[in-house]
């Protein structure tokens, strides 16, 4: 769309807005994924793969590095080499760059990086937005330039790239993570001509001339002594002194080219304001809106938005403020515990104190406020409270806003119901699931509305943290004026609830204004829908006078062959009811969009979607709302009454989508939370459950071992335990040569099963008279739910099998151990979680887990509920996540601490041997803990030791009591994905491998960075496409196992559950028992591979059969018996690699888009496999492993 000025308007998010400029103004780009900045790197890689040129007609060179530290190093080289460079990052990634940022600034390197500002991990990780990261680099010497909205992210990106060249000061341009980086809004795109006019070609040339080159050799990065360093450091002062002027000049030049004017500090408000709020980032937009409202009712307020934060130009700051101001509040979106104030506040107050005397005879009062940490909402209501407090008799000197702080009493109270009057936009909110396509349809809706009506449109999407069944909430605004409002919609004209169950689980109707339209997707028709609502929901519909409509979108989807995709159906229903666009026109636009999206995927798919569109309008029905509430049933609370109090009050509130209501006192201050909470959240995701036919079952327990969610379990138990069993509870005689007279049951947890079908597909027990029937068959969940809920409750009450009678290295036995990792938020059919579950089954009651950031830390440790749990004795894995990059070191530290405490306990035992009984002490010290019987016996001895504490001197008792448990062998695990193990954490991993400590390392290898959306890692194999390798990975996959074997004393196993489950279990048992460092590399299928994960185990088998994933165990203990340490557990490849790759989108993509490259890489990949298999074969056949291959 073209504006009157001729500029092109487009809808995009803040990340794209910034990357669009950065890409065009760069020659070299270094990237690494980190939320929420990842899309900027992804887009750049895409543009490179499509051959998009930069401003100078050249396709930039792009490189993915192993970490942000690597990126910064690469960028340093690019800049010293004379290139124009850029990168994108956030949060811990930015922190990893700090040492090199000092170098870039110290060496006056013109450079601009773009940061989607995000929280730093402290008591917990948060992926959401605030300024903690950028504030942590304010001392590096970088210029910091802040954008407050999508247009600014585009514009100031240009100004930063332009200003860095003449100034020679490197720039960090930032905008709020998620709120700006992920908000979609329309903006004017800067033309190449504007960019060209902004770039100083002479400065580019000067930069290039300063490059390191043997043609004009120089030396840089010298070491300087006390006689030189200080002076040289001060020599750069003029560059910083000149910088504000250079930036302002660039801003003025930009204004002359575009009509959009920026200043170092932009003041908006009454020129004679008595109260001014100083702020950076998107919060400024909300403050400006609120200030306008206050001024319209006679108040005198203003907002000062900081653009250039470093260097902080004190005079420009003072000049931007009205002389009339009496009270300034500085809002910081960060927290510095222990500091006299947050950074912006300190800068402002010191400036006013030092230089304000020239402007004011009486200096204005300055207050400090914190807001919006980790994307906490910042609304006009909060802004009203801030401006109001400045008028109070005794205004606060320090406050927080947006939370209720009942511990420190710092929080401002605000009227949550306040809405800015006179807003002219149309607003809509949609509650859906990630899998139902709601977000995609809404993105399409705003395109249609913006394009056809020429309206301004804003969209922001909120996602929950589950990977399966994730809830999405879409917030849309449309209007004739540009829409800034960087906060969620709370007074919607239209509320769509695309999933029936969400209506009673989420605060759906709270978002509706009075008289709004409410559309519910429900299986109940217009005559009965009302009767199925809770008392509270009916009450709100009546109170808000909502116009209630229903549609059975799933029925329409089924009838039109759309399966579970209801997105277009609900989109049509929205247009049919909202009256925002004539329906015929809307339908025609939707059909066009469908054709555009799906034409390349076949006419059939287009036609199906079109049919669904045609059926949708007739499917919408109005519900006659009675005058009074008729329901008696209350809205169900998400957590059952029997749950612990903390889980009910805190987790339950978070689950209900009302976490913002929880006060500070509700939360543990150190981030330490109870485990075992996922079992209280019944998600009912499965449409079908596995149903057990006990007469066919061969009791192999394969179904149990493959279950990603621990939702199908096996037990054997004495017959008498069946007393009181529900009528439908199934039980058969347990088949075991050793354990006689027991019963056996396979039981599904109906509300925790996700319906992935892995158990059904792996079940080998077929009916010999009808091979289509197996011991596990699928059946619809709903009719079985109540029955199986009772059966599962009874199953849980049955005694757990005696661990001492089970063998840890057998598949069948291993699955009688209680899983201590259950019902995680992992994807339906996840390939990683069965391995973690197995670790917890075998060793969980004495395990300590260090978990790298990634998928496993998100499904393992993201609130509201977490899956690690305890056994009947209250023991279970202790789980911790430090960071992404330091996980190996973190786990090593845990190991050393545990070992030291065990050593201390042993020393104390020796010192008190005579008191405690020499024989008893010797038994403890020399206990065999190599099996479950040994562990149980040692636990009994430790219990006895605690009974005998009164025999040792009183002063030693507390210490002995604390240390005694360390005498029971602890199992330390380091868990992470391939992004951690192969890339960012490899240095630490390598170091830990070299030390020989008794640590078990589990690498969940999905061959991409799964959590951030499938970026290539060094584990990504040749020929696979991935983000950051959009044209197919050309390099080989790193052989991590071979690398670890080269140490000689590391136990290494390469496993694939679907390839050979017995080898998986054996490797786990051996690795844990190995008294040194063990590395298990576990093949984990993933949604980023592009196939139906129900076939995950078949794919794993094919990976093994083709030699793509050879199985082996390398056990250094075997050398003691004169054996080769390496045992190959899979035979020579039976099939060509193509039989594996042809079934996965990650490989087929290249085949479809670039046949020649796919063929060439396919040949290389096959050669690599042949060579690797041959290497292993020779190693296994010879006496010792080869050190190199």
């Amino acid at each position: 769309m073209e504006t009157q000025s001729g500029a092109v308007r487009k809808s995009m998010d803040g990340n794209e807005a910034a990357a669009n400029v950065a890409y065009r103004l760069s020659e070299t780009i270094a990237i690494y994924p980190i939320t929420p900045s990842t899309p900027m790197g992804e887009l750049s890689d895409e543009w490179v793969s499509k051959g998009s040129p930069n401003l100078w007609g050249h396709v930039p060179k792009i490189v993915e590095m192993q970490s942000e530290a690597g990126v910064a190093g690469a960028v340093h080289g690019m800049l010293q080499g004379g290139s124009l460079s850029t990168t994108f990052t956030a949060s811990q990634g930015l922190l990893l760059m700090i040492p090199i940022m000092y170098k870039l600034a110290g060496q006056l390197m013109p450079f601009c990086m773009h940061v989607a500002a995000r929280s730093l991990a402290t008591h917990a990780l948060s992926i959401f937005g605030d300024h903690s990261d950028v504030m942590a680099v304010r001392q590096t010497g970088f210029a910091l330039l802040a954008s407050a909205n999508i247009q600014e992210a585009h514009d100031l990106a240009c100004i930063a790239h332009a200003a860095t060249l003449p100034s020679r000061v490197p720039f960090l341009h930032f905008f709020d993570g998620f709120r700006t980086s992920h908000e979609i809004n329309d903006l004017e795109i800067l033309s190449d001509d504007v960019l060209r006019a902004m770039m100083d070609e002479e400065a580019i040339l000067a930069h290039a001339k300063r490059a390191m080159t043997p043609d004009h050799p120089t030396i840089r990065g010298t070491a300087q002594n006390p006689d030189a360093f200080f002076q040289a450091r001060e020599a750069a002062n003029p560059f910083y002194a000149a910088l504000p002027g250079i930036v302002q000049e660039a801003m003025f030049r930009f204004a002359s080219l575009t009509g959009r004017t920026y200043h170092l500090f932009d003041y908006t408000g009454d020129p004679e304001a008595d109260r001014v709020v100083v702020v950076m980032g998107s919060g400024g937009e909300t403050l400006v809106e609120t200030s306008r409202h206050l001024n319209s009712i006679g108040q005198r307020t203003g907002v000062l938005q900081v653009r250039l934060y470093r260097p902080f130009d004190a005079w420009a700051f003072l000049n931007a403020l009205p002389a009339t101001v009496k009270h300034i509040t500085v809002l910081d979106r960060t927290k510095e515990p222990g500091a006299p104030g947050e950074p912006l506040f300190l800068d402002v107050s010191s400036t006013i104190r030092a230089k304000g005397g020239s402007k004011w005879s009486a200096l204005p009062q300055v207050s400090a406020g914190r807001f919006g940490l980790a994307s906490k909402e910042f609304t006009p209501a909060m802004c009203m409270a801030i401006f109001a407090d400045m008028q109070a008799e005794t205004p606060r000197e320090e406050f927080t806003v947006g939370i209720e702080d009942d511990i420190s009493g710092l929080s401002l109270r605000y009227d949550r119901d306040f809405l800015l009057p006179g807003q002219t936009f149309n607003q809509a909110v949609f509650f859906g699931l990630g899998s139902d396509g709601t977000v995609g349809a809404n993105k399409n809706t705003i395109k249609i509305i913006a394009k056809k009506l020429g309206l301004h449109a804003q969209a922001y999407f909120v996602y929950d943290s589950k990977k399966a069944g994730a809830v999405t909430v879409s917030h849309l605004r449309f209007g004739k004026e540009p829409i800034r409002a960087p906060y969620l919609v709370s007074s919607a004209d239209f509320v769509g609830c695309h999933q029936y169950h969400l209506l009673e689980q989420q605060p759906v109707l709270e978002a509706a204004r009075e008289g709004a339209i409410f559309l519910l997707n429900t299986p109940h028709g217009p005559d009965t829908a009302w009767d199925h609502l809770s008392h509270e929901t009916q009450e709100m519909i009546i109170a808000k006078k909502l116009k209630f409509h229903v549609i059975d979108a799933y029925k329409i989807a089924r009838e039109t062959g759309m399966g579970a995709r209801i997105n277009t159906i609900m989109q049509v229903a929205y247009f049919a009811l909202s009256d925002i666009l004539p329906l015929d026109q809307a339908i025609s636009e939707i059909k066009n969009a469908i054709e555009k999206s799906y034409a390349r995927k076949g006419a059939d798919l287009v036609q199906k979607n079109w049919n669904a569109v045609d059926q949708s309008v007739a499917g919408v029905h109005e519900v006659v709302v009675p005058a009074t509430v008729t329901a008696t049933a209350p809205r169900p609370f998400p957590i059952p009454v029997e749950a612990p109090d903390f889980v009910r009050t805190v987790s339950g509130t978070l689950l209900a989508g009302r976490g913002d209501d929880l006060p500070v006192s509700a939360f543990p201050p150190d981030g330490v939370w109870p485990t075992g909470t996922s079992k209280w959240e019944k998600r009912n995701l499965a449409h079908e459950l596995p149903v057990w036919d006990s007469s066919l079952c061969i009791q192999c327990n394969k179904c149990v071992i493959v279950c990603p969610h621990a939702a199908i379990r096996a037990k054997y138990y004495p017959e008498e335990a069946l007393a009181g069993a529900p009528e439908s509870f199934q039980s058969v005689a347990f088949r075991s040569p050793e354990i006689k007279g027991q019963r056996y049951t396979i039981q599904v947890a109906p509300e925790d099963c996700t319906g992935c079908r892995l158990c059904i597909n792996v079940c080998p027990a077929k009916d010999k008279t009808n091979a289509s029937h197996k011991a596990l068959d699928p059946a619809p969940q709903a009719p079985l739910r109540e029955q199986e809920r009772a059966n599962f409750a009874f199953f849980e009450s049955l005694p757990a099998p005696d661990r001492t009678r089970l063998k840890t290295d057998l598949v069948k036995d291993s699955q009688f151990f209680t899983p201590l990792f259950e019902y995680s938020g992992a994807c339906v059919g996840c390939g990683e979680t069965p391995y973690i579950k197995l670790v917890t089954q075998l060793f969980g009651d004495r395990a300590i887990i260090a978990n790298a950031t990634g998928c496993s830390s998100i499904y393992g440790g993201n609130l509201p509920t977490t899956p690690y749990t305890v056994n009947a004795d209250g023991r279970g894995p202790a789980w911790g996540n430090s960071l992404f990059e330091d996980n190996a070191e973190f786990g090593l530290g845990l190991r050393l601490s545990v070992s030291d405490q065990e050593q201390q306990a042993r020393e104390m035992l020796l010192a008190t041997r005579d008191n405690l009984g020499p024989e008893f002490v010797d038994d403890i010290l020399h206990a065999d803990q190599s099996n479950e019987s040994g562990i149980a016996a040692q636990r009994a001895r430790v219990a006895e030791l605690l009974n005998r504490l009164d025999r040792i001197p009183e002063t030693l008792r507390p210490r002995m009591a604390r240390l005694a448990d360390y005498l029971v062998k602890k199992s330390v695990w380091i868990v992470g994905g391939d992004g951690w193990a192969y890339d960012i954490g490899f240095g630490g991993l390598d170091h830990v491998l070299s030390l020989g400590e008794n640590i078990n390392i589990l690498v969940l290898d999905t061959e991409v960075y799964s959590n951030t959306g499938g970026q290539a890692s060094k584990s990504t194999p040749t020929g696979a496409i991935a983000k950051f390798a959009a044209s197919g990975k050309s390099g080989a996959k790193k052989d991590l196992g071979l690398y670890a074997m080269s140490y000689g004393n590391v136990y290494v196993a390469r496993i694939a559950l679907g390839g050979k489950d017995s080898q998986t279990v054996k490797a786990m048992a051996e690795a844990e028992a190995y008294p040194g460092t063990s590395l298990i590399i576990a093949y984990s299928h993933c949604i980023a591979h592009g196939f139906n994960l129900a076939q995950g185990l078949e794919h794993q088998k094919m990976a093994v059969d083709t030699g793509y994933w050879p199985l082996y165990r390398h056990d250094p203990r075997r050398t003691e018996s004169g054996l080769n340490p390496l045992v190959l557990d899979s035979p020579a490849p039976k099939l060509p690699l193509s039989r594996f790759t042809e079934n996965e989108v990650r490989y087929r993509f290249l085949e479809a888009t670039n046949k020649e490259r796919a063929a060439a890489l396919g040949l290389i990949a096959q050669d690599q496999i042949n060579a690797r298999v041959e290497t292993y074969r020779r190693m296994a056949a010879s006496g010792q492993p080869e050190k190199n291959s």
Partner: protein, 329 residues
Amino acid sequence: MKLTTNYLGLTLKSPFVIGASPLGDDLDTARRLEDGGASALVMHSLFEEQLTNDAAVAALTESFEESSAEALSYFPESADYSLGPEEYLNHIASLKSRLSIPVIGSLNGRTPGGWINHAKLMEEAGADAIELNIYEVPTDASESGADIESRVLEVVSGVREKLTIPFCVKLSPFYSSLPSLAKSIQLSGANGLVLFNRFYQPDLDIEDLNVEPKLFLSTSSELLLRIRWMAVLHGNTDLSLALSGGVHKVHDAVKGIMAGADILQIVSLILRHGPQALEALIKDFTAWMQEHDYQDITEMRGCLSHKNSPDPAAFERANYLRVLQLWKV
């Protein structure tokens, strides 16, 4: 020696045509086959349900998108690759630009719309002719043979309506009256018949109680079935006749032509022994004609067809008993 043959209205330099197979997937191989004497090339079949399956996989992949704040998708944006027939259609154009022999598109449809649309697209992409590869296994007891045949004819007439280029129909042997069906196919507008298609056949894994589809390369033993029906149809229809399956040696080729085939589709021989095997076969065929004093292939075509055979009963059931008796001996 004249080998020139008319097939579907196209004049071919010999009756040796590359049958539907992956042999045309690689441009260099296709070129080698042309150089070795192939007179036309039938591309591998475009399966409509493969496109549908691909779309289902795409939909599945899509269902993971927009679900997580950290990962709005799991593949590069450009991975939204074409799952429609574009790649196939582009390949037609590539083959046409590299080869001088006719290129015949092959299509296995599922829905009437799919047949027609994709056939039209192939024509627009430059195909000289289309082979409609009809194969379905009737499993519905309520559906009669007539129902199935009428569906075939519906497809044929639908395609005829849209196409201007010639097309043929490739059938399985499992029709109750092939001569009658052939007649109807001709009346519905097709230009030729290909006898017969060979597909994956279900095999049984008796240990794991699984059904496993299998496909074996053809052998000369499969020729006899085709010779019988070629002979029966020759002279009874105006359709061009292509024999597909079982031609491995020079005698197989001679028999095919003598039974009445206009062309012989060769696949397994080349897959087994490489493109040079085709050249050898043609050379042997020419030598055989020379040895037996045939100057023009038309002299031998159909000389042993049902109509021209000295013993027509040999192609009919009457001969069955005698063959069985011979086995006894």
